[in-house]
């Protein structure tokens, strides 16, 4: 099969290691890997040597099957490398260069070898190209994932800081949500709200979504799950800040909110007071001042 690599190639890599490594290091240096000073030449040297050995071993045991078990050690090493590059602030290109700059030195070694026919050389080079492309992409994927993990972690921290639970009255809490509600953030917010409900023994929690620009099906589901969880714990929820557009969107999406929802936080607060058996009375200011007692209407009525 054209492009099929095997133990032959592993042996070739082994034989030519003393030439491949320096060539590879040169190319990496030329590409600027050491310019940033984030990694020393010694470190790069030992990483390169380590990977070359792992690649050689994998080629010997598993040929060009990158998905196979023979490549696990190499993958593990690349995973580590990619993650640490991501954390150190390398760009994706700088990280992928580690793999892609290995192509030239390997091709040179194949070309120099007198035991291969021209046909075989072409097939091997093609096989190596495919393999290294696969490896390079893998490295990039891990890099990407690491970056995403950092973002997710930071988002979590921001969530915790930016969604305080507010006590409106005895037993009545408000949770003003601001910004987009993604899965991760909603989870943090939900846990925070539920814990606060327990801590202050709240009867009602008002979730205000005035500051949430869009409510899609997923967001609505998260809200409903929060409400369901609060109810299971023995508290009730109200939702406020439902803008007309959001109400329309939800109807179009077929989302059913089986929870009392109000347009404004003030309205929701009024409902919450009622539900917890309280009433708000206007106190006649005139009654408080001597001499003006009994004046009907009073001031500012």
């Amino acid at each position: 099969m054209a492009g099929e690599l095997n133990g032959e190639i592993a042996a070739l890599v082994n034989r030519n290691e003393q030439i491949i490594l320096p060539e590879w290091m040169e190319l990496q240096k030329k590409a600027g890997t050491l310019h940033t000073g984030r990694i020393s030449e010694g470190e790069l040297q030992s990483e390169s040597k380590n990977f070359l050995h792992l690649l050689r071993d994998a080629l010997a045991k598993g040929g060009s099957d990158f998905a196979g078990a023979a490549y696990e050690p190499a993958k593990a090493m690349l995973s580590e490398l990619s993650r640490s590059r991501a954390q150190q602030g390398f760009s994706p290109t700088e990280t992928a260069t580690f793999i892609f700059s290995l192509k030239q030195p390997l091709f040179n070694a194949v070309n120099r070898d007198k035991t291969f026919s021209a046909e075989r050389i072409a097939a091997v080079i093609w096989g190596l190209t495919l393999l290294l492309d696969e490896i390079g992409l893998y490295t990039l994927e891990i890099f990407q994932k690491s970056r995403e993990e950092v973002i997710v972690r930071q988002q979590r921290e921001i969530s915790e800081l930016s969604t305080p639970v507010v006590k409106l009255w005895d037993g009545i809490l408000a949770l003003p949500l601001i910004g987009t509600l993604d899965s991760q953030r909603t989870q943090v917010v939900m846990e925070n709200l539920l814990q606060t409900i327990v801590d202050v023994e709240a009867e009602i929690a008002i979730i205000d979504i005035t500051g949430v620009p869009t409510v899609d099906t997923l967001t609505a589901q998260h809200l409903l799950k929060t409400v369901a969880a609060a109810r299971l714990m023995g508290a009730d929820c109200l939702i406020s800040g439902i803008r007309p557009q959001i109400a329309q969107t939800m109807v179009h999406l077929g989302v059913e909110l089986n929870v009392i929802s109000k347009a404004s936080l003030a309205d929701a607060f009024a409902v919450a007071l009622r539900q917890t058996g309280r009433a708000v009375m206007k106190v006649n200011r005139a009654d408080k001042q001597t001499g003006l007692a009994g004046k009907a209407g009073g001031q500012g009525a």
Binding site: M190, E191, L194, I197, E201, E203, A228, R231, L232
Partner: protein, 129 residues
């Protein structure tokens, strides 16, 4: 075999679940409660699960059963003290425990039972007019 203690608490029964129950213990609790609701003429059952770190479908079904049985025997069941992590997990699991009333703590749970008793007695009084 250990059995979970059931205490008399006014006109209600109070059960505090503090151990990671194995299935036999849960079934025994159901039986004991049913018996005691009748023998004490209880009008309410308070199940305190504030010590439970896990509520799975088996326990969920047990709570549903207890609620259903007590209803037949004219008693209200209130489950109190569910932990946030448990509530979140139950919602994800799809267990809505619709037949069960809940409250944050024993005090609120008891108040809930008494309120409903007053309501139902008022309704009965109306019927008689």
């Amino acid at each position: 075999m250990d059995r979970i203690p059931i205490l008399k608490f006014g006109n209600a029964l109070l059960v505090t679940i503090q151990v990671d129950m194995h299935d036999r213990l849960a079934t025994a609790l159901e039986e004991d409660l049913t018996g005691k609701i009748v023998s004490h003429n209880a009008r309410g059952v308070l199940i305190d699960i504030s010590a439970l770190e896990i509520v799975d479908s088996f326990i969920g079904r047990m709570l549903d059963n207890i609620a259903a049985v007590s209803r037949i025997l004219d008693a209200d069941t209130v489950v109190v003290g569910m932990r946030p992590a448990v509530a979140i997990t139950l919602v994800e699991l799809g267990l809505s425990l619709t037949g069960v009333k809940t409250a944050l703590n024993v005090e609120r749970g008891m108040a809930l039972i008494q309120d409903r008793l007053v309501e139902s007695e008022a309704a009965d009084a109306d019927d008689e007019d």
